[in-house]
Subunit: 227 residues, 2 copies
Amino acid sequence: MTSDECSRSLTTLRWVPDMVSGLVRDIRVRWALEEAGLPYRIETVDFGEKDLPAYRILQPFGQVPVYRDGDVTMFESGAIVHHIAMQSANLMPNDAQGRAHTLEWMFAALNSIEPVVVPLAEIDLFEPDAGWAQAQRPAVLTRLESKLADLDRVLAGRAYLISQFTGADILMATVLNILRHTTLVAQYPHLAAYHRRCLARPAAQKAAADQLAFFAAAAAPDPDPVH
Amino acid sequence: MTSDECSRSLTTLRWVPDMVSGLVRDIRVRWALEEAGLPYRIETVDFGEKDLPAYRILQPFGQVPVYRDGDVTMFESGAIVHHIAMQSANLMPNDAQGRAHTLEWMFAALNSIEPVVVPLAEIDLFEPDAGWAQAQRPAVLTRLESKLADLDRVLAGRAYLISQFTGADILMATVLNILRHTTLVAQYPHLAAYHRRCLARPAAQKAAADQLAFFAAAAAPDPDPVH
C-alpha cells in the first residue's frame, strides 16, 4: 500500500513516546486510505522542524498530519478524512442526504465528543498529581459520561453511525481510542460493541499496525552503533 | 428573510441568559443563510424539551441548533454551515482544491481553535472563583495565546482564511466571539482586523441583530399581565 512514486503523501512525526503511540492523528488518515484502497507514502517531520517557517506554511499550528494529494496540500485530520472519503464509496454515501449526515457525524466526533474526551486524558496522562486536576476531574468525567451515554443510545441497534461505514466512524473510533487508559467505553454496551466493530476492520488493523511499526522502527537502537 | 412557507427551518432555544446571548450556535446558521440569501423560519425548543426522546432523535446530545432543509434534518453547526455553503458560491469555492481548503479551515476553527478557546471562557464565565480554575488558568491562557499567534501569522496580508469569504470564516469568527469578555483578540493585529472584517459583513450584522432581538422578545415581560 505504499509507493515512492505515488501522488499521495502523509506527513507524520518521525518518532513519538510510547504513551501517545497509536493515538497520533495520522492514524485517521492511514485508516481512511486503507479503506479506500489508495496508495500513499509516508514523510516525516522532527519535533524541532514543526516550528520552522517552511513547515508552518503547510501546517500553521505546527502539528501533524499534513496530507498531499497531487497539487492539494491539506492539514486537519477531519478535513483530510473527508477529502479521501469523497473519493471512495467505502467511506461516503453518494447521495446528498447521506453526505450531509456523514459530515454531521464527522463534526460531532471532533467538536462534540473529542472536546470532552481530551480533558480527561490530559488530566490522567499529563497531570495526574496536580491539585487542580484532581479537583476538576469529577466534573470532567460527568460531562464525558453524559456524552458517552448519548452515543450509546444512538448506537443501539446500529452497526455504524449512519447506515454504512463512513469516514465519520474513523473519526469517532479514534476519538474513543483516546480513552484507552480507562474502562469507560466498556461501560456502555452499544458503544463498546461499535468501537470493537470499527477497530476490527482490516483497514483499521493495518493502519494501527503500520503506525506502531513505523514509530517502533524510529525508536530502535542503531543496528551498528560503532560506526 | 423568513417565511412560514419555506422549506428551511432552524431550531434554537426559546430563551437564553444574557451571558450567552449572541453566542448560541444558531448564529452560525443564521449568518450562513443570510450570506447565501436563503429564506428560513425559526422554531424553538425549551430547556426542558431538549432532553425529551422526540428531540433527542433530532439532536442526540440535546443541544441546538437543529436544521431542516426539505427532507434533510441535521445537527452540528459546522456540518449545517457546510451543507448551506455547498448551496452558495458566496460561502464555498466551486473547485475541488478550494472546497478542500474551506473544509480544512472549518475543521480548524472547530477542532484546533474552539477547544482551546472554550476552556478559558468556561473558567472566566462559570468558575471565576474556583481554586482549580485559577490554578489552571495560566496554562489554558498560554495554550490559547499560542494558537491565536499562529492564526495572526496566517492572516497577515489576507482578508479571509482562504482567497474568498467562506463558511470557514463564519465558524472562525463565531469561535473568536467566545472571547468577547477578554481583550485577547485585540492583541493580535491581523487577527483583530480579520475578526472585525467578518463581523462587519451585512449578513453577520443581520444574524447577530436577529438573534438578539429573538431572545430579547422571549425575555420581555408579558405586555398584558392582567389577562
